[in-house]
């Protein structure tokens, strides 16, 4: 990854069952039920990699994508920089159908140190 200020977001994947995580219990005793489908997750990761982003392994139900701000704004959402500052989700409209079927959300997870 090179050029410009870096952005990084989490790509949240749907469970292999196809259900939404919106109402799911996201705890250790239930997390296994939310595991995404391996082939679909790999396809989604590959799609982001082809667009020049650095892609992490899947952990839990998400993987990270990292790249320059311009890359995020060109490939995903023109408002990426401002969304990153305020927190929120990126549009998934640019994703092809086979990827958007797997991707539930692309979200920044902004936080702050607790001094």
């Amino acid at each position: 990854v090179s050029g410009g200020e870096l952005l990084s977001a989490q790509v949240v994947l749907r469970p292999a069952t196809g259900a939404s995580t919106a109402d799911a219990e996201l705890t250790a005793r239930a997390i296994e039920r939310l595991a995404p489908d391996k082939a679909a997750a790999d396809a989604a990761r590959a799609w982001f990699e082809r667009r020049g982003m650095e892609v992490s392994e899947v952990a839990g139900n998400s993987f990270s994508i990292t790249g320059a701000t311009e890359l995020f704004e060109r490939e995903l959402d023109a408002r990426a920089s401002s969304i990153a500052e305020q927190g929120g989700e990126l549009s998934t409209a640019s994703l092809p159908d086979e990827v958007s079927a797997t991707v539930e959300a692309i979200t920044f997870t902004p936080g702050e140190a607790l001094r």
Binding site: I31, K38, A59, G60, P110, G111
Partner: protein, 540 residues
């Protein structure tokens, strides 16, 4: 002393800084080699009234930026070519020995002048400024030299490692040989700077790992991660420590990068925004799933409860949530007015914190003197002033007094490491149970959210202040009983479906290779011993 010019290097920075000395009022120039400058003689090196101002004006006209005018010198800045033009000379750069931070012997580029004997001196005698200046001293490279010893301050505060270790009741555990050896602790935070405090104590820390979107692995621009990490070592001095530097735009990515290192314990002193609920955003869902996936692999995950916020994932049901207790100079304990404690509006039935570490009071929680990278954000922000608003240190000394539940969390995480050494097979839920049952109850004070401490569990401090000694005793007793973790079996493994060979995710974290006896006592005997340790026996 003229120097050979054919090999001179000219690797100048864009701006060269210097101290220009207006002509001194006394018999000697500031730059005469036998001129001794002391408090007795410094008046001789000041100038006639009005001369510094005139010199400053003419330096400005000549193309220099005047940064500061003192009674003895004028601080100036300009490109090297301006010096050469104005003073009709030639500059060059030379690599010379230098002692850099952490006593590292290296070389540094020093700017010098070809036609003077004194290093770094520019002679203005051939220039149009000869009537107002007697010499120009080019600044030499300076490096922050943090001290391994914390500065002494008169207000009540804790010093690491000793006071924090004592406050956690960890000293006796350390002397018994339980120091966190063989236990891997990962902290996710703003970064980690290899401060002399860590180096000279011989703490074991790998180079920091970058989380997604983070940069500059060797530096900690904030100082938060560096400082708070000292709390881990105070509790467990022999852990194998790794910092994952997090981009605070993608905290979950940073957390996952830490979990991918397969630690036994993770310490996380941050919060995702919006933890007050009631619902969860996509960001919260991603963070919650990441935490759950780490815990199900056997990683003990500690989070700060918050400093007046609803900490998230500090309220996740699977984490150990660390609140705050203030330990007074006389040994009394009370709830920290700086720390959070609340009923989760996101996870029904979840009360935060589970227990507490050592945290200061409002307004600034300037309570634990911690090592930071000299001149970083915290070093500057906390410096000067007077306690309790500020910490009374200087802005570039590499030390700052702060705490918050950011300090409590690594303290608790360090104690978790002690428990994992004492009984490697403990599951995350076992560790939390032991910590809560052995904590010292705190019955006075209110936390940042107005919760009143009272006998027994409360939202002000949870179960009270962590007690490493009693917790390790209980861990050892539990390790004598049947190995219930074996019952967990395959359910302790989670991963991407269809990814049977995943090496990074889906594998349970193995405990450190410390032999632990098991099966010497029946479960009932263990329960009776634990009840005896906690005093529950007396209340039956």
């Amino acid at each position: 002393m003229a120097r050979a010019r054919k090999n001179d290097r000219r690797d100048f920075p864009k701006v060269v800084f210097a101290q220009a000395s207006p002509r001194s009022i006394g018999p000697n120039s500031l730059f005469e080699t036998d001129a001794e400058v002391t408090h007795d003689s410094v008046a001789d090196f000041t100038s006639e009234a009005g001369l510094p101002e005139e010199a400053s004006a003419r330096l400005t006209d000549a193309g220099f930026e005047v940064l500061q005018v003192s009674p003895v010198t004028i601080n100036i800045a300009a490109p090297a070519t301006v010096y050469e033009r104005v003073f009709e000379t030639e500059l060059y750069t030379d690599e010379r020995p230098a002692l850099k931070p952490r006593r590292r012997r290296d070389t540094a580029a020093v700017i010098d002048c070809v036609d003077t004997a004194m290093s770094g001196l520019v002679d203005p005698s051939r220039s149009a400024l000869a009537d107002v200046l007697e010499g120009i001293a080019i600044e030499e490279p300076a490096y922050p030299l943090e001290n391994a010893f914390a500065p002494l301050k008169e207000y009540w505060h804790l010093r690491v490692p000793g006071d924090v270790s004592l406050g956690l009741n960890a000293d006796r555990v350390h002397r018994a040989g339980i120091t966190g050896r063989g236990v891997k602790v990962v902290m996710t935070d703003s970064g980690w700077y290899r401060h002399p405090y860590f180096v000279e104590r011989g703490y074991r820390a790998t180079d920091p790992v970058l989380g997604p979107g983070a940069a500059n692995p060797a530096g900690d621009e904030s100082g938060h991660g560096t400082g708070e990490s000292a709390n881990v070592f105070a509790a467990a001095p022999d852990v194998d420590f790794t910092m994952v530097k997090v981009s605070f735009v993608n905290t979950t990515g940073g957390f996952n990068a830490g979990a991918a290192l397969n630690p036994h314990v993770m310490s996380n002193s941050w919060t995702v925004r919006g933890g007050e609920g009631p619902g969860m955003s996509a960001a919260h869902r991603a963070a919650a799933a990441a935490v759950a996936a780490a815990v199900v692999r056997g990683i003990v995950v500690a989070f700060a409860a918050g400093n007046g916020q609803f900490g998230f994932p500090g309220q996740h049901p699977d984490v150990i949530a660390a609140g705050g207790v203030y330990l007074e100079a006389n040994g009394n304990m009370r709830a920290s007015s700086y720390a959070s404690g609340f009923v989760s509006r996101i996870f029904p039935g979840r009360n935060v914190p589970d227990l507490s570490g050592l945290v200061g009071l409002v307004p600034s929680a300037a309570y634990i003197m911690l090592p930071v990278q000299a001149g970083d954000q915290i070093d500057r922000a906390t410096s000067g002033g007077s306690h309790p608003a500020r910490d009374e240190t200087t802005s570039r000394d590499g030390w700052a007094a702060f705490s918050g539940t950011s300090a409590a969390c690594p303290q608790v995480a360090g104690v978790c490491a002690l428990l994992k050494q004492a009984c490697p097979r403990l599951r995350p839920s076992d560790v939390r149970d032991i910590l809560k049952r052995t904590a010292r109850d705190v019955t006075t004070g209110r936390n940042a959210m107005g919760e009143q401490a009272a006998p027994g569990y409360d939202l002000a401090t949870g179960a009270g202040l962590v007690d490493a000694h009693r917790a390790v005793l209980m861990a050892r007793v539990r390790c004598l009983g049947p190995d219930e973790s074996a019952l967990a079996g395959p359910s302790a493994v989670v991963g991407v479906r269809g990814d049977a060979a995943s090496p990074r995710f889906g594998e349970p974290v193995m405990p450190p290779s410390v032999p632990a006896p098991s099966g010497a006592l029946a479960a009932e005997e263990v329960a009776a011993l634990e009840a005896y340790l906690t005093g529950e026996e007396e209340n039956r």
